[in-house]
Symmetry: C2
Subunit: 134 residues, 2 copies
């Protein structure tokens, strides 16, 4: 993943996102999100939020009770100034997968989209293959 591109800066931005999230650091979360590009966010089980005001309002609400989330196994697909970072989120026994999209700016990699959703059951369970909706 990432080909010849050094993915360290995108991975660092991804770590900064989860650090801001789990520590309830709203200013850090605010700095992390792009001010130059359209941004959007899909929280687990929620409809999509579009625009910086709506996205930051959701973080303001969520970070009043910061969730203890850790991110594991990140991978980066680099597309020039856009990077798509996938990772597994763990919050207690809950497991989620996330798509995090970052855009390169003069101030580094800034988030433009976050989409997280629960993983229903262990990946190793073969019996639920037929239940995959799409």
């Amino acid at each position: 993943m990432g080909g010849g591109t050094a993915t360290a800066p995108m991975l660092a931005a991804n770590r900064a996102f989860y650090r801001a999230l789990s520590s309830g650091d709203l200013p850090a979360m605010d700095r992390l999100w792009s001010r130059e590009r359209p941004v959007s966010c899909i929280h687990p089980g929620r409809p999509a939020l579009s625009g910086r005001d709506a996205v930051m309002a959701s973080w303001r609400s969520i970070l009043t009770r910061p969730p203890a989330i850790s991110a594991e196994n990140p991978s980066v697909a680099a597309h020039g100034d856009i990077a798509v970072v996938l990772c597994v989120e763990r919050a207690g026994t809950a497991v989620m997968t996330a798509t995090n999209i970052f855009a390169r700016s003069a101030e580094g990699w800034k988030m433009v989209h976050h989409h997280a959703g629960p993983v229903a059951r262990p990946p190793s369970a073969p019996a639920d293959k037929s239940r995959t909706m799409h």
Copy 2:
């Protein structure tokens, strides 16, 4: 939301994806996914799949019983050669949100990532705001 960029080609690619999905058209689905870039896919409730072989194997399985899914309310965030399309998916009474990422190539816009997950409850329900995990 695309700014000055004409978003029609990305919206057409997004429509082509749902047409291939709901009609079980595996060759069309195969044509739709990029062969030049790293691709990945997160099906609802499932862990992430990385790489064209794994992603296409999942579609091969899913398209044997194509789900009757329609896409509504698409929006496009254009980032040069990368476009992030969000839309609402409906399959019967189930509602999902999707993040679809397309990359421009010589043969048009090709999918590099699909992430879909269920919306837990109506967006208008104010009581569940406190239940948002992140």
